[in-house]
């Protein structure tokens, strides 16, 4: 393991990669500028709303103003009479096509356009297709809908009360709002440990509903060609292949006649994993009108109707000895899934990977149970860089460790250090069945403490406290489980969670890499070129990465859950290695020697003991496609394909410390400093890695202090615009300080673990722990997010309220 401390160097200080002979044509890993940037900085990205097709029409959705109501009638006469309107589609029309309901990613169904009832505010009721975007919205006003109000279920804690309105009366046999019960770990064993523990702490911990809110909202442009029966669908999707398969299953259009194109995506964070009613409506609109139809939602539609995140009500409990040995953790979770169970997660994991709530600690026992319920809120649930609910798990355990530290009067950093899984225990099997691949936690924690000056900060805090000033230091240490996943355990709607990659080296030695995952800003065009370059010695500039078009790329499940590098990155590396093996055989033929007599150095094979007898990859590529007499079993190209089935998940980790100052008069929290030490195994492009971390840290500050999708008693969404749903600006976040350690994954071809969501997962508890630490003088042991000034002020008055 290497340990490196860095305070993000200014770009001009960057070190040249020693492997690069020509510094202007870098090869392989290292900090290089991104290949995608030249188009973005010129405004030449091609996002969904930039797509204009000849004769294209515009769609708009009429949404329910009510959270729960019976649909009595819809009158579209006036809208249809609008001179610029081409079609108005309702649930009834879709029923005729068998498309009124669509399967969700969690074995439920979801209304595309309401037929019987509306079940959340903002639900889709009708779709207008018109000549331009303004007319389509004008026509929405002309649709007359009559609703009959029904009792609303908003508080998940009330959802299962007897006599509560049944939201999903469309489902046969559904007589209440219960969706599922799920558990992990050994209950009896855990209860026994709790019964004999010296100390038990417990706390109700809420992870409120938040929203990924990428800067680009969701949208689609559907172009159905009635003559050849082909549907071309431009979409904001993180998973183009999975979408294509699902459209084939749902709409009955044969899969080979569907082409899904995801161009540039203006941020996803899980918001763009699912298939939304608007996409299906655009397809139907195109079929009905015979013209391309664009639908792009506005911001309030995005916040009110598309995939939310979290909404977990958790009871956390920790058992320990008086000297601070943590023995067991136990939790029950009430999971609010909204009106349809539409979370995107592996089939066998209805609570995602929440059972990683054992954290980074060596425990004797652990048990969790999760109950999922329906409420009159938007569906969704696995989004916002959550790594399949690892976010909720890490928040719970890291909050609870601090509660324990307070109870034991121990320093929270020391308590963590005392209980870490030791390096020699890896691969470590935890009490809920995960096998952590590798880890070395203590150096990361110590580096973080040293970098922030932990002991000095504690001294400063003590002095400030004596003066009545409120300063808090928050620690968190996370272990993620990402890179889903092994197909024997993990599928989404029956599709194994594997990804394909194809590497082709053309006759002149330039390569094209085709991948199944979809960038939303993560820099795939650069990272994947670097992986291939590292394996084949081809300069990054000479490698083109093709993605986001199902007609041009191999099948795979897409980008979410930090799976691009762990799964697709492995596929790409292995495909490149296959190419290298093939190149070796061809080089041997060209050099008239045996493959085993050749040695590889980045970019060429040479005869052992005679480095002048060599063939570069470019020469071999030309030979492969040329007239070289090929060895038996080798065909005339330099291509390879791999579909990667990961043997296990990967387990990135990190240590985060946050310092806050709280204004005692207003309750306003200021994040003064934030140090993040991450270990994601091998770092392919450190600049991109660091960028991913920075973004996630801002998410964490946002969730901890500002972001919240609330509802009133009538089910009105109170977070439906950027006036109400507050996202950090440059003023609310500090200049991030980062460091890293490198503990490669032993089972991954290049040792990379994935980084996309680490900081979003790890940072909220650091911030909240800091706020609670600052409020210690008031006797506060816990307060729920978001720690807005008003709520912090309430907490200071001794009455922290749960967010509702």
């Amino acid at each position: 393991m290497t340990t490196v401390q860095e305070r993000s160097p200014m770009p001009q200080e960057r070190e040249p990669n020693p492997a690069h002979s020509d510094p202007d044509r870098p090869i392989g890993y290292g900090r290089i500028q991104r290949k995608e940037d030249p188009r973005f900085i010129r405004g030449k990205g091609r996002y969904i709303d930039d797509i204009v097709l000849p004769g294209m029409l515009h769609g708009a959705i009429l949404r329910s103003p009510m959270a729960h109501a019976r649909l009595v009638s819809i009158d579209t006469t006036e809208a249809l009479a609008h001179p610029k309107v081409h079609a108005v589609i309702t649930g009834k029309d879709l029923e005729g096509l068998n498309l009124a309901w669509a399967p969700t990613l969690s074995a439920d169904v979801q209304a595309v356009l309401a037929t019987d009832k509306v079940r959340f505010q903002g639900q889709e009721v009708a779709f207008v297709v018109a000549e331009d975007r303004y007319s389509a919205r004008d026509a929405l006003e002309l649709i007359d809908v009559e609703y009959e109000e029904l009792p609303v279920v908003i508080d998940a804690r009330r959802a299962l009360d007897p006599g509560t309105a049944v939201i999903r009366d469309d489902k046969d046999g559904q007589t209440d709002n219960h969706i599922f019960d799920w558990e992990a770990g050994d209950k009896a064993e855990t209860d026994a440990v709790f019964a004999r523990a010296d100390v038990v702490v417990s706390e109700e911990v809420i992870y409120p509903r938040v929203h990924p809110a990428p800067m680009e909202t969701c949208g689609a442009v559907a172009d159905y060609d009635p003559i050849d029966g082909k549907l071309t669908l431009y979409e904001t999707t993180q998973a183009p292949h999975a979408h294509r398969t699902l459209y084939a299953m749902v709409a009955g259009i044969p899969e080979h006649k569907i082409r899904v194109i995801a161009g540039d995506i203006g941020g996803g964070f899980g918001n763009k994993v699912g298939i939304y009613p608007g996409y299906i409506c655009a397809v139907v609109g195109s079929i009905v009108t015979g013209k391309p139809v664009k639908w792009v939602e506005d911001r309030s539609e995005n916040l009110m109707s598309t995939s939310f995140a979290r909404d977990y009500l958790m009871k956390g409990e920790v058992a320990a000895t008086t000297d601070g040995k943590i023995l067991a953790v136990r939790t029950h979770v009430l999971a609010d899934h909204g009106a349809f169970n539409a979370t995107a997660q592996p089939t066998k994991y209805p609570a995602g990977f929440f059972s990683i709530f054992t954290g980074s600690y060596d425990l004797e026992a652990a048990y969790c149970s999760v109950t999922g319920v329906y409420t009159n809120k938007a569906p969704g649930g696995v989004a916002y860089a959550c790594s399949f609910r690892v976010t909720e798990a890490v928040y719970l355990v890291e909050r609870m460790i601090d509660v324990l530290a307070r109870k034991l009067e121990m320093d929270p950093a020391e308590l963590r250090l005392k209980n870490f899984i030791k390096p020699e225990q890896f691969p470590y099997k935890n009490k809920t069945g995960w096998e952590y691949d590798s880890g070395d936690y203590e150096p990361a924690m110590r580096m973080c403490m040293e970098q922030i000056g932990y002991d000095d900060l504690r001294r400063e805090q003590a002095e400030k406290r004596a003066r009545g000033e409120l300063m808090g230091i928050g620690v968190s240490f996370f272990t993620e489980t990402v890179g889903a996943g092994p197909r024997k355990h993990m599928d989404i709607v029956g599709l194994g969670m594997n990804d394909g990659a194809e590497v082709r080296v053309h006759p002149t030695g330039k390569a094209v890499v085709r991948i199944s995952v979809q960038t939303q800003g993560q820099g795939h065009e650069t990272t994947f070129a670097q992986i291939v370059g590292e394996e084949l010695g081809i300069p990054t500039d000479d490698i083109e990465v093709v993605h986001g078009d199902t007609d041009q790329t191999p099948f795979g499940l897409g980008t979410y859950g930090s799976r691009s590098t762990p799964v697709s990155g492995a596929a790409v590396a292995l495909a490149a290695r296959k190419v290298r093996e093939k190149a070796k055989a061809i080089a041997a033929a060209m050099l008239e020697t045996r493959p085993e007599d050749l040695e590889w150095e980045k970019g060429r094979f040479f005869v052992k003991g005679d480095p002048s007898a060599a063939k570069t990859i470019a020469e071999i590529a030309l030979g492969a496609h040329g007239t070289v007499a090929l060895p038996e079993g080798i065909d005339g190209n330099l291509d390879a394909e791999v579909t990667y089935d990961p043997p296990n998940l990967t387990f990135p980790f990190g240590a985060y410390i946050c310092v806050v100052d709280v204004d005692p008069g207003t309750g306003k929290v200021k994040v003064r400093r934030f140090v993040a030490v991450d270990d994601c195994g091998t770092r392919i492009n450190p600049m991109i890695v660091e960028g991913q971390i920075h973004g996630g840290l801002a998410d964490g500050v946002g969730m901890a202090l500002m972001e919240f999708i609330g509802f009133d008693e009538q089910g009105n969404c109170l977070g439906g615009s950027f006036m109400d749903y507050l996202i950090p600006t440059a003023m609310e976040v500090p200049d991030w300080e980062t460091g890293y350690t490198v503990t490669p994954s032993p089972h991954h071809p290049i040792g990379a673990k994935g980084i996309g969501e680490s900081a979003t997962v790890g940072s909220p508890p650091a911030v909240v722990n800091a706020v609670v630490d600052a409020l210690a003088p008031f006797g506060i042991t816990h307060m729920d997010m978001p720690c807005t000034p008003a709520r912090v002020w309430e907490a200071m008055q001794g009455r922290p309220t749960p967010p509702v």
């Binding site: 900085i41 990428p214 680009e216 203006g266 960028g691 801002a698 976040v733």
Partner: protein, 163 residues
């Protein structure tokens, strides 16, 4: 109604609906899709363009109100093949990920540097505080703008085309 304005140095006249927003005029009427759109409430700033050199949220202005003014969009930042140092800085310091907020951020940065060639970090943060980036966490945007401040002469474009 007929609206005439100067966009990226060229005078344009178009017949538009009086209610047409400037952002839609630029994106749809003129096809300049580098200016983005991200909210309904003038909060996100992905739509920022320069009107007479000042950052303006183009979702908050009507095309008609802009008649007679000079508009500069991201497409007008590079001078021929030569990038604006701000553009170069965003590539150097990883000031962008998905790129959606980037045109607005860069134009605000340009206006700031025109006014104040060597701003400190707090000034930069305040200048971009009306705009949201969901990807970068802002530190690299600040560093990008600092890079541009430190390299006022525009760089030749060949250098970055290969990037």
């Amino acid at each position: 109604m007929h609206v005439t304005m100067t966009v990226n140095g060229t005078e344009v006249t178009r017949n538009v609906e009086p209610r047409l927003l400037l952002v839609h005029f630029l994106r749809e009427t003129l096809g300049l899709t580098g200016t983005h759109w991200g909210c309904d409430t003038s909060n996100c700033g992905t739509c920022v363009v320069l009107v007479d050199g000042e950052p303006v949220k183009s979702c908050t202005a009507l095309a008609a109100m802009t008649a007679g003014h000079e508009v500069r969009t991201v497409e007008g930042m590079a001078d021929g093949g030569t990038l604006d140092p701000v553009q170069q800085g965003f590539m150097e310091a990883h000031g962008l990920q998905c790129g959606f907020c980037t045109p607005g951020m860069m134009l605000t940065a340009r206006a700031l540097l025109d006014r104040e060639p060597d701003p400190d970090e707090a000034t930069i943060r305040e200048a971009i505080s009306g705009q949201i980036c969901r990807c970068t966490g802002y530190a690299t945007i600040v560093r990008s703008i600092q890079w541009a401040a430190a390299h006022p002469a525009a760089a030749p474009s060949e250098q970055e085309v290969t990037a």
